[in-house]
Symmetry: C2
Subunit: 336 residues, 2 copies
């Protein structure tokens, strides 16, 4: 019998909560019979939204909570005070072993802080990074860290490389994934102090396939599977990818539709174009796992709709089947 | 009589040297009769390329040099040793007052280092930043710094804000330009140590219109005129913009041309699309000035073709007419 993956979902987090959260959960359980979702949120919202769908009732559990952590709240304080918030209750379901994973589109700060405070880091892991998959011409690459640890130190980046490699190999299925460090030039002497100190650590590390620097302009080419960086630069990298894509596609559309001739043409190019651009749709890849915790925590975009929520939940299955946390524990332990 | 702007051009630098460099110079003098270009490079290359064109001979000067600084050479050493390189000779033309500006598509490191060592900083300017104009939905924004000063300190970023504001107001014509700091969240408490320390300095600075944080995902919206950042993050920002645009447009094209139907449609949408995307073409805006030197130094892309070279030369006219160096001197002095 295949293993069941149990996922706690924050019904209250994100711009499209609770409607798209519950829809995503229902879609996930309808698609994969080895998933059980625990919906965590207000009774009123959950009951009303669930009533809209048909789904296997034995695979949707509800956990009612009364509080919500807002995006603007200082995270540490919020996690400590709002014990009955959907984020804290969801994380506790992972901590007490009820669930394998927690998925939230809510406050990044609260999810990151809460994950560390409540679930805790794997022994030896110094700073759990947020590691989204980003679309490239060749498929996907993992960007570690994209927002959890600003002002990280070289040893943290080394751990990001190891954890990222495990994720790419055992969740995405890339054999011997290539690791690059985000840099401002291809030569070894380029970079800021952090990159220059980290570079030799990555070169001499065992268990990773380090290939050198990767410039931001080449990130989308997909020649590197794991891109290691400090969170500020990683966040700029990720958000530029999203922002430029959004802006350019808007311009492409406006340009095509600016004339009658263009409008007719647009109808003709639409099917091919959609297919080609689908792979650049971040929602296809689910959310970003917080690597190195004792349980899985996945942060999805604040703007997530049902598709991304569903994919984030499905991602938890690969994470569990790939025994990512065990592998990280073994790899980090071995090196300490 | 209008003022003449004299520009020294590195004929040997960049992937498309010398052909596109000389072509760009000829295009510039043919377009604007108040420009004199000094072509700096090998006699053989300059003579051969110039022979191809018709141009006002009194507005093209030649300065023969025998050495070339390669991209991979350590910049400080190269600038010191290769006294007869096109970069050193070109910079010396600015230093000795023969020219107002130097334009190069060659080694960024050598141009940045050489600019500081040979031309020198305006008194009070601590670190001259490289400040390219980047395309946005609303026009252009200035990104300072995008590669000159990794590991900058808060006071450097404050100076970037002041110099960038002067540039946007007096070269681009934006009244009271809005200044934002590149950040990983909109709230004031977000950011790394550098951003958190710089934020209050920008808030209390006189003479700039500081509007707060700007996230990378909003850079292309163009709501901020001057985006201040440390060079590593700025470089990631700039290179992501270029890389994502290149990749996405390739995907758009491939998607449209994947079927016969799409190919017909592509012919119909092409004119409108080209117009719409032209504003996202970095070569329209010339190169990036190195702000805060006693003379103007402009670094253009290594991949520059004649159009970008021409636009970089034309840009020097606005820079001179806007008295940017004088204004920076006054503004920085006033605050020291």
């Amino acid at each position: 019998m295949p293993e069941i993956t149990k996922v706690a979902l924050d019904v209250m987090g994100g711009d499209n909560a609770p409607v798209e959260m519950v829809k995503g959960a229902v879609d996930a359980v309808n698609l994969n019979e080895n998933i059980v979702v625990y919906l965590v949120g207000s009774k009123e919202d959950i009951d009303r939204e669930l009533a809209k769908y048909t789904y296997p009732e034995n695979r949707v559990e509800v956990v009612y909570s009364t509080e919500v952590i807002e995006t603007a709240e200082p995270p540490v304080m919020a996690v400590r005070k709002k014990k009955d918030s959907s984020i804290v209750r969801g994380l506790m379901l992972v901590k007490d072993g009820t669930c394998d994973a927690f998925v939230s589109a809510g406050s990044s700060g609260a999810v990151l802080v809460g994950g560390q405070l409540l679930i805790g880091r794997i022994k030896g892991v110094e700073r759990p990074p947020l590691a989204p998959l980003i679309p490239t011409s060749k498929g996907v690459s993992l960007l570690v860290d994209c927002g959890a640890n600003v002002d990280a130190r070289p040893n943290h980046l080394l751990q990001f490389a190891k954890m990222g490699s495990i994720y790419m190999e055992h969740v995405i299925g890339v054999k011997n994934p290539k690791v690059g460090i985000l840099n401002i030039g291809a030569e070894e002497d380029k970079g800021n102090a952090l990159v220059k100190e980290t570079f030799p650590l990555l070169q001499s590390a065992s268990g990773i396939n380090f290939v050198g620097s990767v410039e931001a302009r080449d990130v989308c080419d997909g020649n590197v599977d794991v891109i290691v960086c400090e969170a500020f630069a990683g966040n700029v990298c990720l958000k530029m990818l999203e922002g430029v894509a959004k802006t350019l596609l808007r311009e492409v559309k406006a340009g095509m539709l600016s004339t009658l001739r263009g409008k007719i043409g647009a109808m003709l190019v639409a099917p091919g174009l959609k297919k080609s651009l689908k792979k650049f749709d971040a929602s296809e890849y689910g959310g970003a796992p917080l690597l190195g915790l004792k349980g899985l925590v996945v942060k999805t975009h604040g703007s997530s709709k049902a598709k991304e929520v569903k994919n984030s939940i499905l991602q938890c299955v690969s994470f569990k089947e790939g025994r990512i946390s065990d592998r990280i524990r073994e790899q980090i332990d071995m090196n300490e």
